[in-house]
């Protein structure tokens, strides 16, 4: 058994494809690529594919990660070559590396995710900065999602206005993405900032793991 780590991008075309559908899409990509994917044992054998983190629906990304176990040892460049023609528009593989079979699960190692958000706030640059500062100054930010209340504030590691113009801003947010400590959602941060209904583009540009960043 051989474990490979794929880094891939998701562009606008697939921004509304949910996590489960993406998993199915990957199963089919791997089958088209004719890669010898290993399956779990049992009554319902499942392909051994695991993702680092579900990308929120509506977002694009250039730092998605998945691990797949193949039953034959293949050169990573060979894996890459087989994948390229099997990919749909909107998904591109940027790297393939072999990792130890017993390396920790991606999900367990993930700590944070960084998003670049372009949002049409409708306000002046100073207002935008003020709104962000007020957000950061708040000791707690109680919110409710799917009927559960939680505090958003500790999930936001940093929030920086990179550029602000009249009525629109580019904001970089680093959010906690930790299996045990919690995961922040960029749309929740926007809602808390009061821009929940504003036209927006959200791009995930970095994932931070225990021992490395992508």
């Amino acid at each position: 058994m051989n474990r490979y780590r794929l880094t891939f991008t998701r562009d606008r075309t697939v921004r509304f494809v949910g996590h489960l559908d993406l998993a199915k899409t990957w199963e089919r990509i791997l089958r088209r690529a004719d890669l010898p994917v290993a399956f779990s044992q049992g009554f319902h054998p499942l392909p051994k594919i695991t993702f680092a983190s579900a990308l929120p629906v509506g977002c694009t990304s250039d730092c998605e990660l998945l691990d797949v176990v193949l039953s034959e040892p293949l050169d990573p460049s060979d894996v890459m070559a087989r994948l390229v023609p099997a990919l749909p528009a909107g998904i591109a593989v940027t790297s393939v590396a072999q990792v130890p079979l017993n390396a920790p699960a991606l999900q367990a190692e993930l700590r944070w995710a960084e998003y670049v958000v372009t949002v049409e706030t409708g306000g002046a640059p100073e207002q935008i900065e003020q709104t962000v500062q007020a957000f950061l100054a708040a000791p707690t930010l109680p919110r409710e999602r799917r009927g559960k209340s939680y505090d958003l504030r500790p999930l936001v590691l940093s929030l920086v206005v990179e550029a602000a113009r009249d009525s629109s801003a580019r904001i970089v947010m680093r959010l906690l993405a930790d299996a045990s400590a919690g995961t922040g959602r960029p749309d929740e941060v926007l809602a808390a900032l009061g821009w929940g209904d504003a036209p927006v583009q959200i791009h995930r540009r970095k994932l931070g793991f225990e021992a490395f960043e992508v």
């Binding site: 494809v17 993406l22 089919r28 088209r32 009554f43 749909p88």
Partner: protein, 630 residues
Amino acid sequence: MSIERELDRILPRVEKPARYTGGEYNSVVKNWEATPFRVVLAFPDIYELGMSNLGLAILYDLLNRRPDVLAERVYTPWPDMEAQLRATGVPLYSLETQHPLSDFDLIGFSLPYEQVYTNVLTMLDLGRVPLLASERDERHPIVIAGGHATYNPDPMADFVDAFVIGEGEEVIVEIVEAIQNLKSLSNLKWRVDVLRRLAEIPGVYVPRFYDVEYNADGTLARVTPSVEGVPARVTKRIVPILPPPVTRFIVPFVDVTHNRAVVEIQRGCTRGCRFCHAGMVTRPVRERSVEEILAAVDEMVRETGFEQVALLSLSSSDYSRIGDLVQAISQRYGDKRLSISLPSLRIESFSIGLAETLKNGRQTGFTFAPEAATETMRRRINKFIPDQQLLDTAREVFSRGWRTIKLYFMIGHPDETLEDVRAIADLANAVLKEGRKVHGKAAQVNIGCATFVPKPHTPFQWTSLDSEESIRAKQSLLKQALRKPGLKLSWTEPEHTLLEAFLSRGDRRLGRVILRAWQLGAKLDGWGEHFNIGAWRQAFAEHGLDPEFYARRSRARDEVFPWDHIDVAVRKNYLWQDYVMSQQGETRVDCREHCFACGILPAFNSVRMNLPAEAWECPPVSLSRVTGEG
């Protein structure tokens, strides 16, 4: 205006937005500017259903193989998306290049069933194309439609410029070429010239060139050509031999109704079930070779990555080499985690062997369609199976490990009594009893009980839809008799059946009813939550028409039907004889055993003569036979 930019605002607000973004693997995006002829293939129901439609997949593949043609797709938006499109003024657009429907040269609708008719209006309206064919001019696309519902085209004649009758593989290319040849010409008569040219193509019906006259009692007097050069009757098109199957299916990102690749192993059916529209209109039976099917499955897996392939036909058990095919597939894919589905199996123990060979550890239910629960009724509908065979087969299915059996029945067959319906409950109970012997409480019998709708071009085209009172009585009998653990009943609401019934056998006057019902809010009629019979009743009333006239009336033998000018090559007299036989409880055997001269051979004798004997299940035609009755 950029549709793309507007979509950024709209899509986050609608359910399942990935249905409206395209980009799927194997979808074909061509250069709009550089491609001279542009077709949009429209499925008038939601994406999930449209993506499962084989007919459009075939045409998409075929048209996109031509360098001078592009074919794109569009489906009916769900009401939330429709509301967003209307609110923002974004027109309904194609998935591949996001062009409004009005920008295309040709719009091709698939009409597989009648419940989609109002969706055609929704799509034309959102796509900025005038609803009425008579209001379109040289600036607008030509709107064509094909599919099983168009064997009775006139209810949709107001909205469709030209209908394709029969199989589309060859004729679609002839239509494209005809329009292409006239495209450079630009004058006020352009549209009429194009339609005149289309009407000359065999299998194309252009309703505006036909006059319809009615009798005082509301029945049809005659349908006659109003111009020279169009045929009095339009004969359906068939392909003499099935062309190579599509293998590059579009692979959806989201889950769809049939999320799989499909290979049609045969077209047509030799069984002659009297209620079955498909069985009558898709004659003759043509098979694909085992070798061609195997090669196609290989290619599909490679080109789509689908984990499931369906072997499609109206009656899988009748494919002449079904045993060989199933053996070969299981040898090749047994350990490759490919699931193969084989629908429409006959109720006999041979079917169990087939399903068992294909089964890859996955224990889904076993489905049979006896259609009726008494031998008398099954004789009437010409789907004869002895009761004992049914029970024996069920027992064997359970004993070989399946825990669930699905049984499909219909109620409302001609001359059906409450006793016939009670027999459905008795049979379901008897089957469950067999299941319990093997699996105890884990045994399950699901009973699907639709209501029979008389269809055009079938032996039952003369008969009435069962009365609403009777349907309700039968349904409540079943609901009571089948209320028990281990049994599950599903049925069709009588109003849904009524809609299907009046549209199925409607005439050209229904165009204004469809338009009015749509204006009154009828849409997505196939979806329970949107179904609005009130709008339909009001539309009928406003136009002085009666749905019961179309749905619930026994027709005289010599009544002129609204579809009589459409020739499916099965003679009306043959159908009448079959209807009479039904009333007398007489059956006809599989027509491979004995040719009943349904009409296919005389209609297509020159085609048949040039084919090898095994190409069709119909007997070969020699010169001496050609003079047979027509």
